[in-house]
Each structure stands twice: as structure tokens, then as C-alpha cells.
Amino acid sequence: MLDREKVREIVRKYPERRGALLPALHLAQKEYGWLSPEAMKEVSRALNLPEATVKGVATFYAMYRRVPAGRHLIQICTNVACMIFGAERLVDLLKERYGLEPGGTSEDGRFSLMIMECIGACDRAPAMLVNEDYHPDLNEERIMTILEGYK
């Protein structure tokens, strides 16, 4: 369930209720792992906004997921600096090892993969986020060791 008290607390930070929409979507996604139609409905009820408004906003932003996610979300950057240091090879490796396609989830539901546009870690490229943990200085060996830590 979406924490209504938390939503009310967020709403107080904005002069209009709608300001709380992005934070409320983040909250719902944290709760359910993705923004299912039901989750969006709940946000729309909590903020008293039309469902279409909520969906319109949720579909604009890359970080809101409209398909169920795996237990752990891998967000790997392939922008210029990361590309130069081999990020594309790492993406291929994730496919070989876990059957992961960009935007997809592994069959066992363990990992989901998102390709990112620059996560501001260019000095330690290539880099990724796993859930909310930041992992820079990746190579083929390191990425595997790190991911083995996420069961």
C-alpha cells in the first residue's frame, strides 16, 4: 500500500498538490518495484488527480518502469566516456551470462537491465548503479564479482 501519510507529508512541500506527483510516483515505485496500472491508480487517488494525468507523466520519464522489474535493477551507462572504456562489451557480457537484454529482466527474475545516459561517473568509467549502489571502475571481472553479491 502507498503510505498515505508520507504522501500528505510530501504534498505539504508544494503550493499545489500536483507538485507531489513525481515524488509520489517514486514512492509507489519503491513500494511495488514498478508502476503497475494499479499503482498509478493509487497515486491518482492519493493526489486526487485524473488517472490520465498520472499516466501521462509516468510515461515521460525514463526511470519510471511500466513493466515488472527483477529483484535487482542494473543501470549501466554506455555514454561516451563509458563507451570508450568498454561499456558495450559489458552489456554483451550481461546478455551472455544472465540472458539480459536492455530494458528486460532475466528469466529467474533476479536482474533487470537499463541502459543509462551518463550517470556522472565519467572519471571512473565505465560505471553502473545496482539498485541505489554506485559501482565505478568496472571491467569484465569486476562487474561479475559485484553482481554475484546481489542474490
Binding site: K13, Y14, P15, E16, R18, G19, A20, L21, L22, P23, L25, H26, L49, G56, V57, F60, Y61, A62, M63, Y64, Q75, T78, N79, V80, A81, M83, I84, M116, E117, C118, I119, G120, A121, C122, D123, R124, A125, L129, E132, Y134
Partner: protein, 418 residues
Amino acid sequence: MDKFLLRGIEEEGSAAIASYREKGGYAALEKALSMKPEEIIEEVKRSGLRGRGGAGFPTGMKWDFASRDPKFPKYLICNADEGEPGTFKDRPILEKNPHLLIEGMIISGHALKAEYGYIYLRGEYPGAKVVLEQAIEEAYKEGLLGDDILGKGIKFHLSVHQGAGAYICGEETALIDSIEGRRGQPRIKPPFPVNVGAWGMPTIVNNVETLSNLPLIVSIGGEKYAGIGNPECPGPKIYSVSCCVKKPGVYELPMGTTLREIIYTHAGGIRDDRPLKAVIPGGISTPVLTPDQIDCKMDFVNLPKVGSMLGSGAVMVFDDTVCLVRVCWRALRFFEHESCGKCVPCREGTGWLRNILERIENGFGRKGDIELLQDVAHSMAGKTFCPLGDGAANVVLSFIRQFHDEFEHHIEKKECMA
């Protein structure tokens, strides 16, 4: 030059309020609270501070416009969207020195008579969110934020608004839409946000690094600040240096340090001492430079003289092993993905540019593709709703202008020179 923006960030626990106070933090706030708002704006004008978000707009002038608007409430928004590829200069402030930004924002709030502030933080920085929220809580506890700051009868509230992965939300009017809970798409200007911004009210949007200069300006005074770096656009500047250098990282230097000094003295030169091939000086949206142009001073005045821009000050260095057609293609894939879709030249143009670059890169380039790229780019530049489309077009035009041979070679020989 002593570091100011990044002072002490290598120390453990640098984000805590106690260690910020040890470095003299919040002394400038006490001074600022005893000044009249107009006096602070006057100091900012005298300082010559120009916005560090990319456009280099004079901060004092922006503040003057906002403070002349009779409407209240006014909102102060810190732009911490930092989405420009290659850019990681705000991140150390957000994660390691958050109280510098908070102090800067309280001072700015007082100067602008804004009682509410938001930090628009990109969703890709979850670590910074935790640090900032903790720092804001500390500041509330010590009476630095709230309805009656340090008993001076001044009110300022601050919170973090987390973005959700959209580069376009770094553009200030799209950012305002996003704070209001909308799809982040740029608005037509005028009216400018200083008059009609968030919720229709006067809104001042400034970059993290810009606002973090406020404590320095207040403590040493605008005049002395104007003596740091290039007098035409003074102050300390954080350059983020990445790709093929020995020591990639952030370097706080006087504004106007040459590209050569940044690359060879501070970032340690090119990895394996290879030859330098190209430099993007200010983030992926800024035109690329050749090795003979690196004596240029890195500031808002001198880079335009060599056909580029300071942008966010994100220096991306490429050696002779890097394929520039590929870099250009990757840049366009970024712009295509991030185009918000509101205006046709950008939405369609970025896709076509990426498409043509992709076939060249994959060895399927056709005769006439270079001219076609230029044609598409020319029908975008200056014709889009916001500068995202210009950036995309100008990147392609500059890569072709500066490295024509490399594109030709790709098309004719179906292979890469690098």
C-alpha cells in the same frame, strides 16, 4: 589558488555540518543576514558572477529582474539535474560539501526575498539525495532553515525534488514543469521564469555551482571576487575532465585556465603519452576542438572565439585510438533519446542524424551522406524550441568541420582510421 568550492572534500565526513563549520562555514550567512537584500544583489553584480549551468548568464542581472517583479511568493530553484554527458562537477558539492550549497541558497533566498527553495536533483544521483536530505535536516535543527532563521525574522524553507531520468529537465522551463508535476517540456520564452515561473510566480533558477559561490562573494566582497581568474567572467570554476587522460577527475581552478594546462598539468596528460586527437571542452553539446586550439582559455568569453562554448566545463579528451565518428554517433543517440518530442525539428532531426551516423559507422555510409548530415543539421539549428536541438545539430556540424577526413574515410573505405 586555494580551493573554495571543493575545499576539504577528500576528508572523511566532510558533508557533516560540524566539519563545514570547522572550515568557517555559515559565517557568510551571518554576515548576509545583517545585510539588506538589495545590498547582496549589488555585491553579486559587482562580483561579475556568471551562471555555471551552461549559458553563462550574469547572475546579478537575473536576480535584479526577479527582485523587480512585484509578485510574491518567489521561488528559488537550484538546478542539480547535471545531465550533460561528461559533466560531474556538481556531484562533489552535492555529495561532499552540501552545506556550501545550502548556505548559498539561504543567502540567495534572503537576497531575492524567496521563502521557498527546491533542489531539483537528478534521479541518477540517489547517493546525493541521502546526503542532501540529511544536511537539510541538520540545518533545520540548527535554526539555519525555517520560519525565523537565527532569530533574524527571515524565513526560508528548502527541500529536494528528485527527477526521474530526463536530460531535458535541466533546461530551466522544463525543470519548472517537472517540479509542478508535469512532463518536462520547455516553455516558450518570454515570459522568463524570473517573472512567470513555478506556479506562475517569479522563479530564480540557478546551477549548483553558481549558488555555491555565494558564501565566497559575501565573505570577501564582490570586488575582491572579481579579481579571481578572467575579469570578464571571474571566479573559481570546477572543470570535470574525463576520457583519455591519466588523471580524470574534478579540478577547481581560476576561470580562464587554458585547456592545455587543464589537460597536461592537472589531468596528467594523455594516457600512455599518446597523441591528442580532439577535445570537447564543455560537455557533449559543445563543438569539438582540434589539438592546435588547446591554448584557448576555458571561459565564457574565449571559447566562443574558437567556435565552441564553455557549457558545463566538462572536458572530454580523445586520443588517437578513439573513433570520432563513433563518438559523434553516440552523442546523437543520446540527443535522440533525450529529445522531449515537443518540436518537430528536434524530434525528427535527432533521429535522422543518428540514423545516418549509424550507417556510416557500421560501414554502410553512402556518397553524399556528409552533405545530408549537414543539410539535416542546418534545418534544425536555430529552429528548435530550446537549445537541445541546437546542441545536437552543432555537434554534428563541428565534428564534420573539424574531422572531415575521418568521416570521408569511413564512407569510402568502410573502415575506421583510428
